[in-house]
């Protein structure tokens, strides 16, 4: 992942031209049917167009993440809209997070699992697998560092709470500073304290708390006379995507509420075990949609941020909720048969396949992360 990049300038320009054209058309119409001098209307309209362009420019600062030096390289909000069902209205108590809990049952947790992987294929220090050893439900997470890196250098983070049915994946931008801890903070905070609409308070407040919580120290001055890069890196901070999901029980029905920001994806697989098919895929449905410039959240305080999209998906008992970072998501969407692997195979076999396919060039050399949570039946 690199730092966030907005949509192309050309789209923006076309939009402005179209709007300007609309204003001009209205002017013509008004002039044709009114007694007011055409010149005065034209002057007023020209002022309106100019004001629109200026206002629009002022309100939509564009980021440029080609290497530096760009004039005005500050970030700006690019809120995304969704056609999906809306989150609960303001002032209404949101539905309760979590699976139906049997108070007597043992709390399921994810524990580190010693992977039985072929060391000839890859470096075992680059993989982390966590599984749920107690429950019968399929719950696990896999993180694999990019080839050549150890798991400590993996900039993907994952957090899963099987009992509450909350999980998150964050993908830190490699070219940003402190991405490992920032991604980890976002994933963990999503699971421990999910943001609106899953809990009260705005997304900005939630992000502000994450920014305070991230352990990467923000140094304005470096003690090391040669550590100028730390000083400048800390000034820019880290960037990360995040995708989070929570199972919410609302009366008798259960839905998955999914928050997406960037190109880490969420999938709901439904059907009988071993034959599950993709019910929903968010925010992308096609491998072709992955680009170079996903939305990202910055770690620096007071930095403007993109808004996430929220989607509520109906679920059936036993559905699989899957979150994955971009490389795995793109791979899955590239051939829907690959979802069957998540449905049936053991985590070790999945990790082996992911690494083998990455070695074969079916994926780029990126960190690979996938989390799977089977809903209670």
């Amino acid at each position: 992942m690199t730092a966030a990049e907005p949509s192309a300038v050309s789209d923006d320009l076309i939009g402005r031209l179209v709007l300007s054209g609309v204003v001009a058309a209205i002017v013509g119409a008004v002039a044709a049917v009114s007694d007011v001098g055409f010149v005065w209307i034209a002057v007023a309209a020209a002022a309106a167009i100019a004001a629109f362009w200026l206002l629009d420019s002022a309100m939509s600062p564009r980021r440029d993440h080609s290497l530096g030096l760009a004039p005005g390289a500050s970030s700006g909000p690019l809120p995304q809209t969704t056609s999906e069902s809306l989150p609960p209205p303001r002032g209404v108590e949101p539905p309760k997070i979590g699976e139906p809990v049997d108070q007597n049952a043992t709390a399921p947790t994810l524990e580190k699992h010693i992977a039985t992987l072929d060391p000839a294929l890859f470096d075992p220090t680059s993989v982390e697998i966590k599984t749920n050893s107690q429950g019968k439900r399929r719950v696990f997470s896999i993180r694999i560092a990019k080839h050549g890196n150890t798991i400590d250098e993996c900039e993907d983070a994952v957090a899963v709470d099987p009992r509450r049915g909350v999980l998150a994946v964050a993908d830190g931008a490699s070219s940003s500073f402190g991405a490992v801890s920032w991604a980890d903070t976002l994933a963990k905070q999503f699971v421990s304290t999910p943001p609106k609409p899953l809990s009260v308070g705005s997304f900005s407040e939630w992000l502000g708390e994450a920014r305070v919580a991230t352990p990467e120290p923000v140094r304005r001055e470096s003690d090391d006379p040669n550590g100028w890069w730390s000083e400048q890196g800390a000034r820019q901070g880290a960037f990360s995507t995040v995708v989070g999901a929570a199972i919410m029980s609302d009366g008798g029905s259960r839905v998955a509420t999914v928050m997406c920001l960037g190109d880490s994806c969420a999938f709901v697989l439904t059907g009988p075990s071993g034959e599950r098919v993709v019910r929903r895929s968010l925010p992308y449905e096609d491998a072709e949609q992955f680009g170079s410039h996903p939305s990202l959240l910055g770690s620096m305080p007071d930095r403007q941020h993109d808004e996430p999209t929220w989607t509520t998906i109906p679920t059936s008992p036993g559905d699989l909720l899957v979150l994955a970072s971009d490389a795995v998501s793109e791979w899955l969407l590239g051939d829907p048969k690959r979802f069957q692997l998540l449905d049936g195979a053991e985590p070790d076999a999945i990790a082996t396949r992911l690494i083998a396919d990455r070695t074969d060039g079916k994926m780029v050399n990126d960190d690979l992360t996938v989390a799977v949570l089977e809903l209670a039946t």
Binding site: M1, T2, A3, E5, A8, V9, S10, R62, D64, H65, S66, L67, G68, L69, A70, S74, K146, H147, G148, N149, E153, A173, S174, S175, F177, G178, A179, V180, S181, E216, P217, R219, S222, P225, N226, G227, W228, W229, S230, E231, Q232, G233, A234, R235, Q236, S292, H293, V364, N365, D366
Partner: protein, 281 residues
């Protein structure tokens, strides 16, 4: 083609060729500053940005994701070509230095201040490259050197993104037909595609609009501009997108060339020509 990620296993190589001929002392178009000073300043900024891309945390030095070479070309008083590296840092091998070593060994660090929306911001600017201007323009010899560097690089890192060569000059070659040498460079290729050769022709006191990233040789007026077009590689799609984001009308087939480049053109051109940041993932 042009999709290989940049990481430890497949690092990327950038070679800057810098015209150090006497005419580089003339002021940059639209400024009072010698072209050599503008170029050195922008190269330092570019190296700094590359290093920043490799900086991960306080606890480790920037990673060796990029190998950088800055080769100056000029002639001495006996009119012999002088082709030499402009950077010398410990750990450097031949003409190439890793971002890790560059980060820790600038010539010096200058205290600078720049204006931001929050008021003046002081920062430290590392310097690796100093301006120089003397003699003629042995561009062919410089391209020969770039070819040698790129060739060895590709032998070592055949899977990497191909080397990027950016030539910054203000005049015609004085040691032969540069187009022939550019052609030889462009025939070098890694598994990920042919070497990228970009050329920027600096303007002196000119009021002509810079020709940036043209895609049609017939739109270019003079013979030298056409030659520069032929010498320059087509921008890979992501670089063309970067050029568009910088505000240029880079059409499909746009070449990595700039004619009559003013200060802004130099800054933008270096941004576009090194816009491999998204490959670091």
């Amino acid at each position: 083609m042009y999709t290989q990620r940049v990481d430890r296993a497949t690092p990327s190589c950038l070679i800057f060729l810098v015209d150090q001929s006497a005419s580089m002392y003339d002021p940059m178009a639209g400024t009072d500053t010698p072209k050599s000073v503008v170029v050195a300043e922008q190269l330092n900024s570019t190296v700094m940005e590359l290093i920043q891309r490799c900086s991960k945390s306080h606890t480790e030095p920037p990673r060796p994701y990029f190998a950088v070479s800055v080769i100056g070309y000029r002639t001495d008083q006996a009119a012999n070509a002088v082709i030499d590296t402009c950077i010398n840092v410990p750990g450097q091998q031949g003409d190439l230095a890793w971002t890790t070593d560059l980060a820790q060994h600038p010539l010096r660090i200058e205290e600078r201040t720049r204006q931001t929306s929050d008021g003046p911001l002081s920062y430290r600017m590392p310097i690796w490259v100093e301006p120089l201007n003397e003699g003629g323009t042995p561009m062919c010899a410089a391209m020969d050197r770039a070819g040698r560097i790129a060739h060895s690089w590709i032998q070592t890192y055949p899977q990497s993104f191909p080397p990027i060569v950016i030539n910054l000059t203000d005049g015609e070659s004085t040691d032969g037909d540069a187009a022939t040498w550019a052609e030889r460079l462009k025939q070098l290729s890694s598994d990920d595609g042919p070497l990228l050769m970009f050329n920027i022709m600096l303007a002196t006191g000119s009021v002509l609009a810079p020709a940036m990233f043209p895609n049609d040789v017939n739109q270019l007026g003079d013979r030298f501009a056409r030659q520069l077009f032929t010498m320059s590689s087509e921008l890979p799609e992501f670089m063309r997108a970067a050029a568009v984001r910088q505000g240029y009308q880079a059409e499909p087939g746009a070449r990595g060339m700039s004619m009559n480049a003013d200060f802004r053109a130099v800054v933008s051109f270096l941004n576009v020509g090194t816009s491999v940041g998204h490959l670091l993932r």
